[in-house]
Symmetry: C2
Subunit: 465 residues, 2 copies
């Protein structure tokens, strides 16, 4: 049984039954997944979750027990008969997973029958919104951490089973390893671990605890030094262990700071370690870190080699959801629009050509949306403020979408998690730094053509008439 | 294979191996799960997730494929042999699920061997933290909604698979139904659905869409009225449908508002419905609602019968994680403490007696913590500020913990979700209103005995010496 087919809001199914009995269910529909706003007040989104979505949409059909449940809910026999042989056979035209995305542009375009494109909405939104949120948060933290390592330790405060997906998305965004064993076992996530206070408390004193640990992990030993007193007890005991390990040909790997002022303590600990000839022992810092605190610690020259991040990464921290939406833009080749009291909620109708424009050094400079069959143009305007225009003269345009699924089948074997993370990293490198600033980043130009703007205006007028 | 056993941070396993080779793994340990701070700046937590945790801890043991993976990670053969026959056989002494909890007091006490109480930490924290966060958020929203109905529609922006658990926790906190079909199928959650804009857009005009829907759902029809223009098009078309349904002996159930000013639009829509003799047609409102916006709409007398909440409920909204912790408090009957640079992180050591005190009207008035074998006392003091004292003279004390698991076995059949929700509701009713205020609520007294305070002070001094 595929749980994914029930990972949905009930209204998707009641609407599907509505389409069925209105004989509209096999009309050809086009939906677009896009964001209206970048998360975290930042300048971009790292698109993620596609691999997981494709997995979920494989063998996406209803099992007898699921149909029985729908019958209990009052769904009609004829419709359930139809569903019993139905399977998702639609198409997804998508950005590569790990690609950078911006507001207004289609990230994933779903085409197929109305029933199949409608039924997948909740699953698609949940998966892409959450993975992209966390991958983007990780990319921001990695930007702050620079060449220093970033590890993820958030499972205990993650949102339930979402913690498994968060660990995967964090890798895509730039984290190098996770404490999450299930993510390692099931999803190719590299795993990492240190020790907790309970281990230290279990022994009669801190030195004994460190000794026991270093005995079992002589070359993989990270000692947590803040259980009693970081500088008076923890670091001196760690230094003693390091010397004992060295005598036996082993090397203490790291110490971990988990409370107090991380800048001050890391400086003092580094000095003590260096004076003891332990320049190679790394310092890991944890405790409610996010991109702002990492940046601030970096600005203060904190002697931290590895940043361990948890809650504020795996839950998104100050923003717990990406508001990506999935809207009907065409039905039987005819463009469709949704009007709203909120102007920002009006979608861009119709089938579109999306291009990303690069400068001579290979940096991303603008994305553009136009209608198919439009003649080549170089001037585009902002989707919400027509007077702001963007020229792509002198830039080189490239398509950024690919067929991820056709007729319900993947078009290529799934990429590995490491490949996706590498791709994200390579694309982030092409995004100019001003778009990566944490607050008030420079707006990345996403322009629409005059024809697309005209189509939207015409449809609004037509619907309001 | 039980995935739960791998739903953990790697360090739980490396520490377990450390205990094993230090021959400490079968020492008797006591850990406590507690919170240091109430979420959302509120006055309480609704404790939830126990049923799910007990499910996860049933048959909690390692499968061969899991042991192979640990071998790949470098775990030693002798330890893996030990794990291959190991199973969780510990004890949980817990608040009832749905009970109200406060900072500092033990919510769940886990006892058993050091290895078993350590290995479950991450799973226990993830489950109880997330369920309690969402149940508490739901309780706050229900407090604002009063006797009006609250439904949950958040799956599309939930944190991945955590969305399933969020729907369950929301029911515990006071939501009456969810749009989440999988939660209905698997977890006894009552399901509910309306319609989306895409359905309306699919038809040539709004009236046709409404007609088609009402034809299929003549007695369960909720019409979304804001696709084009709420008051000029949506509500008039809904009224027309209601009259047509009435002629055939059916009743339009509700309309849904999803954009614009919900107070203004609900007043205008109510007036139009009433003037058309449709007093029975309910108004459902959705669009980024949380407890503050619900309260504000209530204060303005909005004509809303059902509040539909989504993102800000299922993700916790302004707070995405509950910071509950799980700390070693005793080992082989000896109290243990963790000291910290942050005073708030120092735990209350030792085995404790917890009592909740009720006044003559049955309201909760204070909780107290003392050591076992202490003589009867009535004066307690605040755990962090000794000069603040609480007297329980004239109040009636009762134990609030029960054995939820003994020797790895549940002590009673699992409660149904409805029973847990009823219990939460009955307990919330006993919490005086000043503790339920959204901001700056009155602090609920949690007091500790002089002996417990002395034990903590002695242990700190001893460890720092």
């Amino acid at each position: 049984m595929n749980d994914s087919v029930f990972f949905t809001d009930l209204y998707q199914l009641t609407m599907a039954q509505g389409y069925y009995f209105s004989k509209l269910h096999e009309q050809q529909a086009q939906f677009e997944y896009f964001i209206r706003k970048t998360p975290f007040e930042g300048g971009y989104v790292v698109f993620a979750g596609l691999k997981t979505l494709l997995d979920q949409l494989t063998d996406y059909s209803f099992a007898p027990a699921q149909l029985d449940y729908l019958a209990q809910l009052g769904f009609k026999g004829e419709f359930l008969d139809y569903l019993s042989t139905w399977t998702f056979a639609g198409n997804l035209y998508s950005l590569q997973e790990g690609e950078i995305a911006f507001p207004h542009e289609p990230i994933v375009v779903a085409t197929g029958t109305l029933i199949e494109t409608q039924l997948i909405e909740t699953l698609l939104l949940n998966t892409l919104n959450f993975y992209s949120l966390i991958a983007t948060k990780a990319a921001r933290m990695k930007f702050a951490a620079g060449h220093k390592q970033l590890i993820e330790l958030g499972l205990r405060r993650a949102q339930g089973n979402g913690g498994l997906q968060a660990s995967e998305a964090a890798i895509i965004g730039g984290v190098s390893a996770s404490s999450n064993v299930l993510a390692g076992f099931k999803q190719q996530v590299p795993v990492v671990g240190t020790m907790a206070h309970a281990f230290v408390q279990t022994f009669d004193d801190e030195y004994q605890a460190f000794e026991a640990y270093s005995h079992i992990y002589p070359d993989q030993c990270t000692l947590l030094v803040d259980t009693y007193d970081t500088l008076k007890s923890g670091v001196p005991n760690a230094i003693r262990i390091a010397h004992e390990l060295a005598k036996k040909g082993h090397t203490l790997k790291a110490i971990r700071l988990d409370s107090g002022d991380l800048a001050m303590l890391s400086h003092a600990a580094r000095k003590m370690l260096d004076e003891a000839g332990l320049q190679h022992v790394k310092i890991i810092a944890t405790n409610e870190l996010d991109e702002y605190l990492i940046q601030s610690l970096q600005d203060q020259g904190a002697a931290i080699d590895v940043f361990g991040v948890g809650t504020r990464l795996v839950t998104g921290g100050n923003q717990g959801a990406l508001g990506g939406v999935y809207k009907l833009v065409a039905l039987n080749e005819q463009p469709r629009i949704k009007i709203s009291e909120n102007i920002a909620k009006i979608n861009l109708p119709g089938k579109k050509v999306v291009k990303r424009w690069f400068d001579q050094e290979g940096y991303m400079r603008a994305d553009t949306l136009s209608l198919i069959n439009e003649s080549q143009i170089t001037l585009f305007s902002d989707p919400t403020f027509a007077e702001t225009t963007y020229s792509v003269a002198g830039l080189e345009g490239a398509a950024i979408h690919h067929w991820a699924m056709q007729n319900g089948q993947r078009t290529a074997p799934a990429s590995t998690l490491a490949e996706i993370a590498d791709y994200a990293s390579s694309r982030l490198a092409l995004l100019p730094a001003p778009h990566k600033r944490f607050q008030h980043p420079q707006l990345y130009p996403v322009g629409i053509s005059v024809e697309l703007r005209k189509l939207r205006a015409d449809l609004i007028q037509q619907k309001r008439a």
